[in-house]
């Protein structure tokens, strides 16, 4: 890494940290401006420049005026961190040995020059970053993939994202339903047989790698019994095995979190109060205990949802599913720079969105958080 890159990185970190101390008035204008800028980039390819600019400025002003400070702070934080993430990704990518243009069969230097020119991949990370951001802002595109010819990164990610989102959502629902049920059963009678067996199951779920679980399910239900297709994507029957495989580790984690939350909650005073006023045990658990027992689960679900919904490379390759997960790994292994940047951006967007959602849900569930805001 060169001196210039080091200085640029340090400055970006400072700018990022600075958003935490922005005074209220400055925050309103900065947050509004960032929101407008982001909207402009997103809307311009859809609407054309002038209408998009008009709409973006209007919405940005509205945001600066109306949005609560906490949300504006998130927006103020998002844009510099987005730039920082892009830059760090570019620098790290260039630090990795090899280049997207190295093939088993050597290409003459003039060929490599032509290719570098065509894909906008100069020899140095900062120059690449400049080209990349410029292309993103001016043309509104994530750039062409280098290894999958003739396709832009959005051509690759847009059809893959819904697949991963859908499969991930299903797995998440399975994981939450299964995990919470298991965790509550275990947490209500700690030390009992139910507790031991469900926690044993959870331990197995956490520790068995999903390529083992997936392969076992495939062999059992796909080949030996022949009930379900072993791999591929084309019908609901194709979903069952990968969704279970994907859900298992998350379910196990949720079960453990729920169990400890339940044990904790059942010892609280308000549970005694609820019992004392004669509520049936079913309602005590469902209405009072569960609400606080689930807090750690909800906090965990933000990042977990982002991770599960951007697809798992292992599960997707194992079951031959055309989702997002493959691009995280293929992009990095092939040094397909624009794909690496694209996946990083999508992951960033999802994680920001889910964390915001978790904040909102937590505020709704937990009065303490609500008051703090």
């Amino acid at each position: 890494m060169g001196v210039f890159e080091a200085i640029a990185l340090a400055a970006a970190f400072l700018a990022l940290a600075g958003t935490a101390w922005l005074p209220s008035r400055a925050l309103r204008s900065v947050g509004g401006a960032w929101a407008a800028a982001g909207l402009l980039v997103a809307l311009r390819p859809l609407l054309g420049f002038a209408p998009a600019a008009l709409l973006a400025v209007a919405l940005g002003a509205l945001a600066a005026w109306r949005l609560p400070e906490a949300v504006l702070r998130r927006i103020a934080f998002a844009l510099p961190s987005l730039l920082l993430l892009t830059y760090v990704t570019a620098v790290l990518m260039y630090l990795a040995p090899g280049s997207p243009f190295a093939n088993e069969r050597a290409a003459p230097p003039e060929v490599e020059r032509t290719l570098r020119e065509r894909y906008g991949v100069p020899e140095d990370a900062t120059a690449f970053f400049t080209i990349y951001v410029e292309r993103l802002v001016v043309e509104g595109t994530l750039g062409p993939s280098i290894k999958v010819q003739g396709r832009s990164v959005e051509d690759l990610l847009l059809p893959a994202l819904p697949v991963s989102l859908a499969l991930g959502a299903l797995a998440l629902v399975l994981a939450v339903v299964g995990g919470v049920a298991l965790g509550v059963c275990a947490g209500l009678r700690p030390g009992s047989g139910v507790d031991l067996s469900s926690m044993g199951l959870a331990l197995l779920g956490v520790s068995l790698p999903n390529f083992v679980v997936g392969a076992l399910l495939m062999i059992l239900f796909g080949i030996a019994l022949g009930w379900l297709p072993v791999a591929g994507w084309g019908g609901y029957r194709h979903l069952v095995l990968p969704a279970i495989t994907l859900a298992l580790p998350t379910a196990a984690y949720v079960a453990r979190l729920t169990r400890s939350g339940t044990i904790d909650a059942m010892q609280q005073d308000y549970i005694r109060t609820a019992r004392a006023k004669g509520l049936p045990e079913r309602l005590v658990v469902a209405k009072h205990a569960l609400r606080s027992a689930l807090l750690p689960v909800v906090s965990f679900l933000g990042p977990a949802a982002a991770a599960i919904m951007t697809g798992s490379f292992v599960v997707e390759t194992l079951f031959g599913i055309p989702g997002m997960g493959q691009w995280f790994v293929k992009g990095a292994i092939n040094r397909d720079y624009s794909v690496v940047m694209g996946t990083a951006l999508v992951y960033f967007a999802l994680i920001t969105a889910f964390n915001l959602a978790v904040d909102l849900v937590l505020a709704w569930l937990d009065p303490r958080v609500r008051e703090a805001q």
Binding site: P97, L170, V173, I223, A231
Partner: protein
């Protein structure tokens, strides 16, 4: 209490509905023939592709001057109905059939080939396989500077079209495998109008214009390519399959499970290698020699590997039988030379690399390292793969046992591994090379001084001279003294040169020159494996796979026109000729 349950049920329903939208209707009915194609094709542009997965699809979508006959893999008439070659072997004239059509209805003309070949050679195209046509008059200049440097190339030089159905190709020197090149993917025709309208996205579904037996129906990256029969193909009635699914699957266990569950018809080589013993017993398993060599590069710029005696000692200390019989177990052939067996007319050179630990120790002592003393720890670099790791560990152990060397096997993933070997940042590095055409040259020209794929630091003017002579035997045979001086076995070369002094008819002369050419290549290979040792060949691959019973037109062993049998060295199975039993459809 019921509200959350109802909400949850609604959430699941919405999720499932959303998933339904991601299914594509095209893939709901299974295709007539489905096969695992390994990694996703990078492109379907014939000028820009470089691998087998691309090749399998491209030869279904496009047809060259010739195509390969499934049963013999010999060039059969494709777009060219007939052809003739001049007596000196330098000018080829192809007569194109009148009824060959592009999928948009235009006739396939000789200009389409001129355009495609010019485009392949155009430096701004960036085609890796441009060197395939370097034998054409003016092609090298065109590849260097385009039309500015070779204005006549494509007009009346190298390759040109005197009329829409005649294509003339001029070679600088006779190329014995030239006809084979005309079925290779790099020489397929390209529709100029599609490229000019859609730029580098012209080969995507809905835009691609082809002239082959199949059309591109559907392409979902990471899933499959669906091909359908081309009704306008000139021999459409010869095509047996209505639909083909080309699956992009890289995971060996997944691929094998699909084959075992009967969900794919052909699985070429992509199965977990540990299961070889079990799979070999199955009736649907096939295997045969392949045209791929597995070898180790030695970095000759790094002491003590700069001493050929040390390099030879390493080669002599490797017990290849242990690798092929105990580890690989598929009938791989231990290799002491670089060119796989099966090249017509080619004799394998006498190698200095057979297993001989005593001689290896003597050589190492002679180089000043008795018992391996004084040799720094050597690293064997391999690209991350379980099989390569096992072989590297085994060889490291053999070198320890037989030579007393300290050897460490280490891995890098693909792009880093390529960068390291290019930069000569290794001691010993694993490599493999797939032959592109049935001629020793495809394996030997890598080691010419400075070749981009040499990557050993080795170079030998004699080797370069012999290969250059083989590329133009007619001219080279005028100066036998220089050739004999360069040859490691002058007597054998003299024997091949001798008949040239006699007066014979042209056909005999051609045969003599051909034999001389192969002898020159053999002499060059001798330099490689008996004198220079920049590489240590380990074994020749076996091509293997699973194919469902009842699939017709699939030949894992070829039947040549003269009645003999031959191995399907490249595991090539043209989709045009494959048929499946009607009951399955």
């Amino acid at each position: 209490m019921w509200r959350p349950v109802a909400a949850l049920a609604a959430l699941v329903a919405v999720t499932l509905a959303a998933i339904g939208l991601t299914f594509s209707s095209a893939t709901r009915t299974p295709a007539d023939f489905r096969f695992v194609n390994g990694t996703e094709p990078k492109t379907l542009d014939p000028s820009l592709m470089n691998g087998q997965p691309e090749m399998r699809v491209a030869t279904a979508l496009f047809e060259g001057l010739t195509r390969r006959d499934a049963k013999t893999l010999q060039p059969a008439p494709g777009v060219a109905e007939t052809w003739e070659v001049s007596e000196d072997g330098l000018t080829w004239t192809f007569h194109l059939r009148e009824d060959a059509r592009w999928s948009d209805g235009r006739p396939v003309t000789a200009d389409d080939f001129v355009y495609a070949w010019q485009r392949l050679l155009d430096p701004t195209t960036g085609a890796e396989y441009a060197y395939f046509l370097h034998g054409l008059v003016g092609a090298r200049a065109y590849n260097r500077g385009g039309a500015a440097e070779a204005p006549r190339f494509g007009v009346d030089q190298g390759v040109f079209a005197p009329d829409p159905h005649t294509l003339v190709v001029e070679l600088e020197a006779p190329v014995p495998y030239f006809l084979e090149l005309t079925s290779f993917f790099a020489t397929l025709p390209v529709p100029r109008w599609a490229v000019e309208t859609h730029g580098d996205r012209w080969f995507l579904p809905g835009r691609i214009v082809g002239n082959g037996p199949f059309l591109l129906d559907h392409w979902r990256v990471g899933d499959r390519i669906r091909l359908v029969r081309n009704p306008d193909y000139w021999a459409a009635e010869a095509v047996g399959l209505e639909t083909v699914d080309v699956l992009s699957i890289e995971q060996p266990t997944t691929a094998l499970n699909l084959a075992l569950a009967g969900e794919v018809d052909w699985l070429p080589s992509l199965y977990p290698p540990e299961l070889v013993d079990v799979l070999q017993e199955r009736p649907d398993f096939y295997s045969g020699p392949g045209m791929i060599v597995y070898f180790y590069r030695l970095n000759v710029t790094r002491p003590p590997l700069d001493d050929p005696r040390v390099r030879q000692a390493i080669g002599l200390a490797i017990d290849r039988r242990e690798i092929t019989d105990a580890l690989l177990r598929l009938g791989e052939i231990p290799a002491t030379a670089m060119v796989p067996p099966g090249m017509p007319g080619y004799g394998t050179p006498t190698s200095g690399l057979g297993f001989d630990p005593a001689r290896a120790r003597a050589l190492l002592a002679e180089a000043g390292f008795p018992g391996g003393e004084g040799v720094p720890e050597l690293g064997i670099l391999y690209n991350t793969h379980e099989r390569h790791r096992q072989i590297a560990e085994l060889i490291a152990d053999q070198l320890r046992r037989n030579l007393g060397l300290r050897v460490r096997a280490y891995n890098q993933e693909w792009q880093s591994y390529i960068a390291s070997t290019r930069a000569l940042d290794y001691d010993i590095a694993r490599a493999g090379w797939i032959g592109d055409y049935l001629d020793p040259n495809t394996f030997l020209d890598l080691f010419v001084t400075g070749n981009g794929n040499n990557n050993t630091g080795w170079g030998d003017p004699d080797y370069d001279l012999l290969l250059a002579a083989a590329a133009n035997v007619g001219a080279a045979s005028q100066d036998p003294a220089a050739l004999l001086a360069a040859a490691p076995e002058p007597d054998a070369l003299a024997a091949a040169l001798a008949p040239l002094d006699e007066e014979v008819d042209p056909a005999q002369r051609t045969a003599q020159l051909r034999a001389l050419r192969l002898e020159l290549l053999r002499q060059a290979e001798t330099l490689l494996v008996a004198e220079g040792f920049p590489v240590i060949p380990i074994y020749f691959y076996v091509a293997s796979g699973l194919v469902q019973p009842g699939v017709e037109g699939f030949y894992s062993e070829l039947s040549l026109p003269d009645g003999s049998r031959a191995a399907n060295l490249q595991d090539i199975h043209p989709l045009r000729d494959i048929r499946v039993p009607a009951a399955r459809n």
